[in-house]
Amino acid sequence: VGTDEENEVTAARTPRPGDLTDAGHFVDLCRRLGPAVHAYLSRRVGRQGADDLFGEVWLRAFRARATYDPHQGGAGPWLYGIARNTLRAHWRDAGRAGPALSAVDRPDPWDDADVRLDAQSQRAILRRGLLLLSPEDREVLLLVAWERLTPAEIAVTLGIPQGTVRSRLHRARQILRHNIDSTSPAPSARPVTLSAQEATS
């Protein structure tokens, strides 16, 4: 997660009423948050998949701009929600494409992320705990770890209550703490905290 990308998303958190009712602002949003949206896709379907879906996300966002509420977490979480819906549609379509794509039968980003884990020789460490998580809990965890979203923002992205986000996050954290950090070859001396954002939001 690049610093610039984080800054852009953070900037987009500031509610700016009327942002998306102006065509010029909407296109400006594409330029400002495009890198973050592409990174979201790339983490879940790889670089090529992200390239393929990137334009569709923005067209979907434009068509759905009436659903944007600047008082509900800013444009970043709203866009991640659009990207998530695009991914789910992509996975559904891929699932219908044939059994050769069985890995994407489940709309679960972990299948793709797992490939990168393996490539980086970290698979054994994280896989044990992450596979214990439900897809719902894992999705919340990845939004915290990868997109650096707060529970309030995740609630906007996923369209679920904040309380549900917090409970999923709490559950995921507990599982990681008990099943990963305790067996990590180089555990951190300090307790695992998912994010400072969790405590402040």
Binding site: T21, D22, A23, H38, S42, W58, L126, W146, S184, V192
Partner: protein, 358 residues
């Protein structure tokens, strides 16, 4: 490294390619403006701009319309045809009637003399009257659209040089809501000054500058057009129809090329035959239309010469949600009639030909 830090490190990915980002945002920009109209955002007056008219069809474009009018997007012209009954939302292949008529027009085009193509030192002259929708974007309450009447004369040289003369009439608000938006915006002046600009070689060129190099074999031309090797743009029959129109309006397309274009259009799924219609000047013609996204783009063709006589864009069904006011079915968003056309020897000359030769 704890589990979260490890997880975060695994989320590191290569940033989006700048070219992909820019292309996507540019396509989005065009789609945004297209969806909200046919309109364009207010923009500073550019330097000499390409002259070619682009019909705003549905879907994103990879190349924006570039035209002299600073405030507006050129929306298609119309042929008023109060007797025309459109069928919004129709899909499928071209009707046999539409295909047959386009094939007949192709034969008519092929039989026309080739004298309409300007030689060295000569110009294609076209005089037209039109009414274009122009939208000024503000906030939710002060965005408004007007129809701006225009008289236009253009001289297009073989080398892309030429002259463009435009004058504008009194704008007309499309709806009471548009008038209210204008008032909310402070009732700014809508007057647009007439212009008379000359262009050096290449100054009036956009897209395929040498139409004589395009194939006149329908299959070969269709392959190039569908592959977007003539003009950029999204895939699909709606865009195909737009590009056929682009190659017909204010161009020196030869009779053979025009014939090939009609044959390409005859095979486009969704093309409709409107039958006999009248253009905005009351002249009878053959109406060909393509309906997409709730808008109907119509071409009016001369039944005896196959020339493009006029165009129109109108609302025929539900349109995509946008900040724009929703106009009722039947609302005409723009029209053009081509009043005269011919080859002349200087940019000071004109032709009184009443039958467009383009």
């Amino acid at each position: 490294m704890n589990s979260l830090e490890l997880l975060q490190s695994l989320g590191e990915v290569e940033p989006v390619e700048p070219e992909l980002l820019e292309r996507t945002c540019e396509e989005l920009s065009v789609a945004v403006h297209r969806d909200m109209a046919p309109v364009v955002m207010p923009a500073p007056a550019p330097a000499p701009a390409p002259y070619r008219r682009r019909h705003p069809g549905p879907g994103p474009r990879t190349r924006p319309v570039a035209r002299r009018l600073a405030l507006a997007a050129v929306v298609l012209a119309l042929a008023g045809a109060g007797t025309v009954l459109l069928r919004p939302g129709s899909t499928g292949g071209p009707t046999s009637a539409a295909a047959a008529e386009l094939q007949r027009l192709a034969a008519v085009a092929a039989a026309q003399p080739a004298a309409s193509v300007p030689g060295p030192g000569q110009y294609l002259y076209v005089r037209s009257e039109e009414s274009n929708m122009q939208t000024t974007f503000g906030g939710p309450t002060d965005t408004y659209s007007v129809l701006v009447p225009e008289e236009r004369q253009i001289w297009i040289g073989a080398d892309g040089s030429g002259r463009l003369v435009e004058s504008f009439g009194q704008p007309v608000f499309l709806s009471a809501a548009d008038h209210a938006g204008w008032v909310a915006a402070g009732s700014p002046s809508l007057a647009e000054a007439p212009s008379d600009d000359s262009f050096g070689p290449g100054g009036l060129s956009d897209g395929p500058t040498d139409l004589s190099k395009l194939p006149t074999d329908p299959a070969a031309l269709g392959s190039m057009l569908f592959a977007r090797k003539i003009e950029g743009g999204p895939a699909g029959a709606a865009e195909d129809f737009v590009q056929v129109g682009d190659l017909l309006r204010e161009t020196d397309a030869s009779p053979a090329l025009r014939a090939a274009l009609y044959q390409v259009a005859a095979h486009l799924p969704g093309v409709e035959l409107l039958g006999q219609v009248t253009d905005h000047s009351g002249r009878p013609g053959i109406g060909i239309a393509y309906v997409s996204n709730g808008y109907s783009n119509e071409l009016v063709l001369n039944p005896t010469t196959s020339a493009l006589m006029g165009e129109q864009s109108s609302v025929v069904g539900a349109t995509a949600p946008s900040q724009m006011a929703t106009y009722p079915v039947g609302t005409v968003l723009g029209w053009t009639v081509y009043e005269a056309s011919g080859v002349v020897d200087s940019t000071a000359a004109s032709t009184a030909a009443s039958t467009p030769a383009q």
